[in-house]
Structures are given as structure tokens and as C-alpha cells.
Assembly symmetry: C2
Homo-oligomer: 225 residues x 2
């Protein structure tokens, strides 16, 4: 039987690269997306399309109403998402508290149910160094938790969190995905993407992505407004 | 300003005791419940009533569609929940994989948003020793994760997971709650509770609860069918 992996899959650039990588490593892939009130719902549509095209074994979109707790401009429609500003210091308003911990926990539950041996998450400690839950020491601690958190972990079943992009810049990730044949025109990173999946080109996420293509010296196939 | 706590609050016997305890310790309480497709939705109604009566600062019910991942008779309506059987060995079918990790993660997100310094969870390692995520070593590891997972944790803000029932039997928990004035007739533990909140008296959860009142030598005020 082939080994199984749960892929935290937003339909964005990073997680689509992770999915392609997991496939290339021989995993049967189970894609997991979240509808948590993020504004860019077209991301979920992209996720559905890419998952289907990538022949994943299963794709689940979990509804999770954490937006009602507040704390992020990404889920609070009364807040404005600002355009990218090179001089901005600190955590951006789009930060969703404990998001990676929440998503990894749900992935852990699914991994236990389907007997997966890996969970892929496309975090990078290079581009988002301000996010605590993107750092190697955080992931390493979550891996320790996994061994204690589930029946299978306690019984010695090996399940580990894989972060293949953690030391890659956006440009390196794009080069990796390009070598794996990823079609980035289908992926959506923009915080304010239109319903048709067009990117604004101005938010933090667009700025980072555009710079990545630039530095990778690859054509930016993002569909902008 | 008073110290704040997030209480994982199902409306059951244990979490209601936790809420009463946190209040008695001087916390402003923020109750957090989940609608994750559990069958006993009357539990959520009980949670709403008790939270209101207890004057919590805020009560949030998070929708979380993890039932679609399968793995538990508690969320899968095609499975039957069996009556309690003293001879049953192993993890019961009502086990929801990684549930405590998932709920603690979401509580962690809220705690960061509201600046809480404690999260209360009513797990016991005595009555449910088969559940890996009810053991002290699991909780201790999650506490280590908390320090790495959030911006505030990294900055040294103290937030800790409190498990006041972890070494208590159900009888001890009931005695504790009784001393704090908890009205257990309002709490629902039954896996098959009716819409009106009546307990079946036969499932694992009812059996454990009934035994608890028995051993505590306190009248069982549970409303049975």
C-alpha cells in the first residue's frame, strides 16, 4: 500500500508546491482546506480545481467559524486590508492567531483516521520571519506533541509534520514548483482576490509573490486585475 | 483589570465544574463551545443556558465541520452508539481523533486575541485513561507548544493550560462542583440526549456519570428519559 500524506492546502502558491512535492515523493495525497471566513473565497475555488487536477485521493474543505473570534483583518469584513508597505514593521493585520496550530491539529485528526504518515505544511521561516508558528522550533515542538496526542502516536505509529519550504525564499519555492511542473497561474495568493480569482497586485501577499517571480527570473503567470 | 480565562465548555458535567472553579479563582470567564456535528446538540443548548446563568463575559460557539472526516460514532450518524458495556476494552467508538488538540488550538487563538492568561479544560486522566490527550504528559507538552506558537508567547506573555480535574475521579469532580454550588441538573453528558436534554441512562457517558454520583454519595439530579 502506498504511503499517505495529508496536505494543508489553501490553493495558494506554497501549498500547491507542497502538494506537487508530496506527489513526487510517492505519497497518496489527501488535501485539506479550510473555510474560516477568509475574504478571498476564490482561493477555495482554486483549491478545489487544483486538487481535482492533481488527482488527490480526497479533498476536504472544513468549515471553521473562527472569524467570529475577531483578531484578524483577513476574517473581519469591517476592517480594511491595506496595500503593501515596505516600511511596515511588526505582525500584519492579516495574521490569524494560532492559525497553523489549529490547521495542524485538524490535519492530525484526519491523519489518524486515514493512517497517514506525514502532514505537509507550506510554511517558510524566511519570508514570514515575524510569524512565530512558521519557525522550525515551533514545528519541532508540534512534532513532539503529535507523539503524545493520538492513540497511534502513543503506540509508536510514525507521523511527522513535513515543512519542505521552511528554509526556502519565495523565489526558491517558485523554482522548486517550476521544476515539478506546477502551473502557478491557477494558484491564488492575493488577500483581496476577485470572485474570478484575479489578484489585486498591491497587498502584502501579492507583493511577496511578485518579488518571488522576479528573483526566480521566471515569468509571473499570476492573473492580475 | 481582572485576569481572563478561556474555558473549553461543552455544557457537560466536567466543563461546568471547570467554569465554576475558574470563577471562584477570580477569572473573568470566556466560554468556548463547539458545534462539530456531535449528535447531542442539546448539549449546546445546555451550554448556552449555563453560560448565561454563570454570567460569563462572552460565550462563543464555533462551527467546525470535522464530522465529515469520519472516524467517530459521535459525529457519524450512520453509526450506532452502543450502550455501556463493562467488559468493553480499548478506545470507544465515540472517540474523536485529536479532539482536545483541535479545541485547545482554537482556545489558544482566542486567548491570544483577548489577552487571557489561562485556558481551562476539564480532562481527567482517571476515568478516561485510554485517551492519550487526557494525560498530564500531553497537557504538559501542549503548554510547551503554547510558548512557541503565538506572538505573545514568544514575547513572554504567560498563558497556561489548566486542568484542575486531571487527577480527579468523576465522584471527586462532582464533590468539587457541589462545594462550588454547581447545579448538575442543567448539565448534559449523555451521548444520546433528547432534544429536551433528557439523558438515556445507558451510554458510556451516562454510566460513568451515574457511578460518579453514586460514589460521591450525592443525589443524581440528572434528568433521565
Amino acid at each position: 500500500m502506498k504511503k499517505k500524506a495529508v496536505i494543508l492546502f489553501s490553493g495558494g502558491l506554497d501549498s500547491t508546491t507542497c502538494l506537487a512535492l508530496a506527489k513526487s515523493e510517492g505519497y497518496d495525497c489527501y488535501a485539506l482546506s479550510f473555510d474560516y471566513g477568509q475574504r478571498h473565497n476564490s482561493e477555495l475555488n482554486a483549491a478545489r480545481k487544483i486538487a481535482k487536477k492533481s488527482n488527490v485521493m480526497q479533498h476536504e474543505v472544513i468549515s471553521l467559524s473562527i472569524g467570529q473570534l475577531g483578531g484578524s483583518s483577513l476574517t473581519d469584513k469591517t476592517q480594511t486590508i491595506k496595500d503593501h508597505d515596505d516600511n511596515h514593521v511588526g505582525i500584519p493585520s492579516t495574521y490569524v492567531p494560532a492559525r497553523n496550530t489549529i490547521m495542524l491539529s485538524i490535519a492530525l485528526g484526519w491523519a489518524e483516521i486515514i493512517n497517514a504518515e506525514a502532514i505537509f505544511i507550506g510554511v517558510s521561516s524566511i519570508d514570514y520571519s515575524g510569524y512565530p508558528d512558521c519557525r522550525p522550533e515551533y514545528i519541532s515542538k508540534f512534532n513532539e506533541l503529535v507523539d503524545l496526542a493520538t492513540k497511534k502516536g502513543v503506540e509508536g505509529h510514525v507521523l511527522s509534520i513535513k515543512t519542505p519550504l521552511i528554509n526556502l525564499s519565495k523565489a526558491d519555492t517558485i523554482k522548486l514548483g517550476d521544476s515539478l511542473g506546477v502551473d502557478y497561474s491557477q494558484t491564488i495568493s492575493c488577500y483581496k482576490a476577485t470572485d474570478d480569482g484575479l489578484a489585486c497586485g498591491k497587498c502584502d501577499s501579492c507583493a511577496l509573490r511578485r518579488k518571488g517571480f522576479d528573483e526566480a527570473k521566471l515569468p509571473d503567470t499570476t492573473r492580475y486585475i
